[in-house]
């Protein structure tokens, strides 16, 4: 839009979160922290979708009784619906990962991924 830094601000945050998420997945040894890293990645992606769908001074998308000035400035509902879906899926993934982590702790007595290595070769 008008070259304002704040227009791009969400995207900068997305980039930082992505870097942080990948760093956490790649370099942390605790399994719970790896799960948190994936959550950060997911937050970044969700924020990206919402930011893509944002219109400055936007209106709620109600197609039937919208005021005249809202024409052409309605925020599309699709990105928000996508974000909601992806949040729900993310919850399922996280729950399953934590369940696996609990099970691994039960069997190995540790959450250190460098020591959870019976499968190799």
């Amino acid at each position: 839009m008008n070259g304002n830094i704040f227009v791009n601000f969400p995207f900068i945050v997305v980039a930082i979160l992505l870097a942080l998420g990948f760093y956490t997945i790649g370099f942390k040894r605790n399994l719970i922290k790896v799960v948190i890293g994936i959550e950060i990645l997911e937050g970044a992606v969700n924020m990206f979708i919402v930011a893509v769908g944002y219109i400055k001074g936007g209106y709620v998308p109600i197609y039937t009784q919208a005021p005249q000035e809202a024409v052409g400035r309605m925020v599309l509902p699709t990105p928000q619906a996508l974000t909601l879906t992806s949040i729900v899926i993310g919850v399922a993934v996280t729950a399953l990962m934590l369940a696996f982590a609990v099970n691994i702790y039960k069997h190995y007595g540790t959450l250190d991924i460098t020591r959870v290595r019976r499968l190799r070769g």
């Binding site: 990645l41 979708i49 099970n103 499968l119 070769g121």
Partner: protein, 517 residues
């Protein structure tokens, strides 16, 4: 009924999955139920394939009659969720349903001693739903959703034997890979949505302009799907997952992997097909990735002691053949003379190899599962002299091993010869690698055969017998399919594979969803 087939393909297994938990404490009932549901999806997918091959692409719009009235005002931009089925999708759907059915039959006795079987079968059907959704959808976000369904169901099944720590380890590995890959897919989808304001595959493909941002999206999609189909730099989760999963789930899990491969083809052929110059480069990347995958996979397989792990590494190496075949086709996609000369046949080889590989690798993994069922171990050094005790398993294993090594009368030969002949025309070096891989494959299976089946009968296996009937039946079906596909490859090639390849090549047809343009 016929026009609702694409929706039924997803609805039937989903319904089955939700009903399955009601059969708590009735293990026989839930097995029967799963066999019934997966069996009926086989029939549906055959009907669908017949419909698609004879009448062309099928478009199913959820919540509307035709794609042409996608908005109430008649404005022709697709906003609804659409299923777009071409011959390639139908081909994958047949593989998925057939393998789920065989997995369900095999599971009937293979997991009877485990607890929580109603969840097992519910997850099996959910996995099938995920695969079918992935291969039939015409919508990018929908693709992501079904990718996640398949990923979650698959990793829950990998960790099914939760009394073993290794199962949880393999499960979380698979889940982390699949979660990161599908988040990156979602990121790429968001990039494309931001540019073109739509999620329909065909609509985006028609408008794609290939600027910097599109290139990032292509890169993200390519790497994430390559990650999920087990191409080489990201192959480490494959052996763990395939080894730990119960053998009855191996066939659907294999198809889940190849559904990602299908998505990779779909992205490079359909979504970005209009990029004339850079597509050859993408094709070269795919071919080289294929060669690396097959070679590294087979060399890792040679040193394994665990029989299922060895076969899982072979699954990686065979994925390389498919990548090579289709990659060769992608390289020459915008060069009509070369495409007619060898590109189309190369792709036919790659696509045919998908179904062949699914058949014989499922057969091999099932024989490994049978060995585990009888002996209680997967270590090759502790087995021996089982050929007399388990004659049918031995024969199935020999058929599978001959097929995977590409010996003439079996199905592996039919697709491999197509890949050899055509990749030679692009670059002879590719063929050399492919043939060396084949020889090494044969070598490692000779090793398995010698140590598990041949040799003097061991004391501790004195009272062991052949595995129960449902497992035998599942293995025999696959062995017969191996031989049939090898003896009459032209039947399958003409009826299923070439239509699928042509569907990939004629991307313009896919782009005009249902003739709307």
């Amino acid at each position: 009924m016929i026009e609702h087939l694409p929706a039924l393909m997803v609805a039937v297994p989903l319904f089955g999955a939700f009903i399955a938990p009601l059969f708590k404490k009735h293990y026989k009932g839930v097995s029967m139920w799963a066999a019934l549901i997966t069996g009926s999806t086989v029939i549906l997918s055959l009907l669908l394939a017949k419909q698609v091959v004879t009448n062309g692409i099928m478009v199913y719009v959820f919540g509307a009659d035709k794609p042409s009235i996608v908005l109430p005002s008649g404005y022709a931009v697709p906003i609804r969720i659409m299923f777009e089925v071409d011959a390639m999708g139908a081909f994958m759907a047949i593989s998925a349903t057939l393998m789920s059915f065989i997995g369900a039959i095999y599971s009937y006795t293979h997991v009877e001693k485990e607890a929580g079987l109603e969840k097992y079968y519910a997850l099996l059907m959910l996995l099938e739903t995920g695969i079918l959704g992935m291969v039939l959808t015409g919508d990018l976000f929908n693709l992501f959703v079904f990718l996640e369904i398949a990923g979650i169901a698959g990793s829950a099944l990998v960790g099914f034997r939760n009394y073993r720590g290794e199962a949880s380890e393999a499960g979380i590995k698979y889940l982390i890979v699949s979660a990161v890959a599908s988040l990156m897919v979602l990121f790429a989808v968001a990039i494309l949505y931001g540019q073109y304001g739509n999620l329909n595959l065909a609509y985006i493909a028609k408008n794609v302009s290939f600027n910097m941002v599109d290139m990032i999206a292509l890169g993200l999609l390519f790497t994430s799907f390559a990650m999920k189909c087990g191409a080489v730099p990201m192959h480490y989760w494959v052996p763990d997952a395939y080894t730990e999963v119960p053998a009855g789930i191996n066939p659907p899990l294999l198809v889940a992997t190849y559904a990602s491969l299908y998505a990779l083809f779909r992205v490079s052929f359909t979504l970005f097909a209009n990029i004339v110059i850079d597509l050859a480069r993408v094709g070269w990347i795919m071919s080289i990735l294929g060669v690396l995958t097959m070679f590294i996979g087979v060399t890792m397989a040679l040193v394994q002691k665990d029989v299922k792990r060895l076969m899982s590494y072979h699954a990686i190496s065979q994925t390389g053949y498919m990548l090579l075949g289709v990659g060769v086709g992608l390289t020459v996609l915008h060069d009509p003379s070369k495409l007619a000369e060898f590109g189309r046949d190369a792709m036919a080889g790659g696509v045919f190899h998908i179904i062949n590989h699914i058949i014989y690798k499922s057969l091999l993994l099932m024989t490994a599962g049978a060995l585990f069922y009888v002996t209680g171990t997967r270590n090759l050094n502790e087995m021996g002299g089982l050929a007399r005790k388990m004659p049918i398993t031995t024969i199935s294993f020999m058929v599978g091993a001959a097929a995977i090594s590409g010996l003439p009368p079996f199905n592996g030969f039919a697709s491999k010869i197509l890949i050899y002949e055509t990749s030679y025309r692009l670059n002879p070096l590719l063929t050399v690698f492919a043939m060396v891989t084949s020889v090494l494959t044969l070598a490692s299976f000779v090793k398995v055969f010698a140590s598990a089946f041949l040799g003097p009968p061991l004391e501790k296996f004195q009272d062991k017998r052949e595995v129960p009937k449902p497992m035998v039946i599942a293995m025999l079906i696959l062995a017969v399919l191996c031989i049939l596909f090898g003896l009459f490859p032209n039947l399958v090639l003409d009826k299923l594979v070439y239509p699928a390849v042509d569907a990939l090549i004629n991307f313009a047809q896919y782009h005009s969803w249902g003739g709307l343009a």
